[in-house]
Amino acid sequence: MMNIKRVISTIEKNYIAENLKKGERIDGRGLWDYRKIDISHDIIKSAEGSAEVKLGETDIITGIKYEVGEPFPDLPDEGVCTIMAELLPLASPLFERGPPDEQSIELARVVDRGIRHADCIQTKKLCIKENEAVYIIFVDMFVMNYAGNLIDAGGISALTALISSRIPEGVMKDGNLEWTGNYLNGKDLVKELPLIMTFGKIGDIIFLDPNLPEELVCEGRISISVTKDKIVSIQKSGVATFSIEEIQGLIKRSMELGREIRNKLDLWQYKVDK
């Protein structure tokens, strides 16, 4: 049982900060190490795609559902993808019931921006008939246990769920929607795989993947989404400020880390054929 308090004691804060200055972390990791990442896919029968990602003790389940609707007038031949996050009160005493708060909206939006700007979802393949019918894909992330760094875990969870999805392929015949008998799978829906890396900052020390105590003492963090060869989104939050040199250093580092993690996770293995 972990006892989380909103306010972390000065002693614990100093302990975490002092150790970080020596390059040591309370859980024994190096500054640029992730916690253990466990991925399971295709776990929810009712969903068109699903994944559970555990990053240390942080646990996020994502499910994919679809509907058929009208396209936006300015994008008549493109499907729509919406990303939502729920910080379930079951996941932490810090989470409250009720409509989405800032933290859950930030989580959904940062994951969404990474995906949106990375040529990830192939929205043109989600068009059934121009101006009339397109797929609306819902990517819903549910936080089951909160132990820091929801953004990176959420990003991997959303991507894996999309890769694992099978969506019935529809056609319009004489104004009626019909099923072809086939499915669109992860390869049809997704192209680039943006990975989000979140760095915490305490004093002058910057480190990857803050765990919960680190997140509670952090003055700020920065999340950087990268594809194989590009930066696609950045989000700085918290009261910390970053120098231009620090940002440049982090961009270089996130490109390197991105390559390494992309190979290690090998997310395409979670594709489901049918």
Binding site: M1, I44, G63, Y66, V68, P89, M144, N145, E178
Partner: protein, 253 residues
């Protein structure tokens, strides 16, 4: 909003060989898997797979009551929040809690309260959060069962466990533990729960069409199934500690 494949109900709920569509006998439960202590942040938690149902429950408390006016000066309160994930059903559920979820939350609260000693915790609340991640019929019963486990895992003093199951009638025949299809296409559904300290029913609903004889027999069918579920709950609670023992003993080799 339209979907490409529609949710079609079969005409018959029994196969040629007299078994149910998923291969079960009339009074056979679906495969059930239970585990406690699955959410490290919670004071107590449990996970349940019951057929295709996948449900998590977490308990927090006794803790301060928000909003404060709900607190009672002479006793604690129990609050249960039953929710379904948007992707747990065939057609995506809207994220905000609906009327059905609120009603089921209330039913489960009333069902669990008799086993707790709330008079020992004045001014506080026990909050039980139930998340149905995948649904396939009988979620209120499965939720009640898993919530009782989570309360026990939290070390909350209890008079006994609570177990729950739905029985009913499909194609004119009495059956135990209705699946999603059987629930929707069947004739009658009778979810119930038992508080073991007095062996009385603490949750009871009925919808459908049954004769009085059938209703009487259904209640006896339920009683048999509830015994099995109780045993599974007890095993799940104990296995948290036996698995630690195995680790310790394994380490000494």
């Amino acid at each position: 909003m339209p979907l490409i494949i529609n949710d079609i109900y079969p005409e018959k709920l029994f196969r040629e060989d007299g078994k149910r569509l998923d291969g079960r006998e009339k009074n056979e439960l679906r495969p059930i898997k239970m585990e406690v202590g699955v959410i490290s942040n919670a004071d107590g938690s449990a996970y349940l797979e019951w057929g295709n149902n996948k449900i998590y429950a977490a308990v927090y408390g006794p803790r301060e009551v928000h909003p404060h006016h709900l607190a009672k000066p002479d006793r604690g309160i129990l609050r249960v929040f039953y929710r379904m994930a948007t992707f747990s059903v065939f057609e995506r559920k809207r994220p905000a809690p609906g009327r059905r979820e609120k009603e089921i939350s209330m039913i489960i609260t009333d069902c669990l309260e008799p086993v707790l000693f709330l008079e020992l915790y004045p001014g506080t609340a026990f909050e039980v959060f139930i998340e149905v991640m995948d649904a396939d019929g009988g979620t209120r019963c499965a939720s009640t069962t898993v919530a009782a486990l989570a309360l026990a895992d939290a070390g909350v003093p209890m008079r006994s466990l609570v177990s729950s199951v739905a029985v009913g009638k499909i194609d004119g025949q009495l059956v135990t533990d209705l699946s999603g299809i059987e629930d929707k296409a069947g004739d009658a559904d009778l979810p119930c729960a038992i508080t073991w300290f007095n062996e009385e029913l603490s949750l009871l609903q009925f919808d459908g069409d049954m004769s009085i004889e059938e209703l009487n027999e259904s209640l006896l069918n339920a009683r048999n199934a509830l015994d099995q579920i109780h045993q599974l709950q007890l095993t799940a609670l104990k296995s948290k500690y036996t698995s630690i023992l195995e680790e310790v003993e394994g380490g000494e080799d």
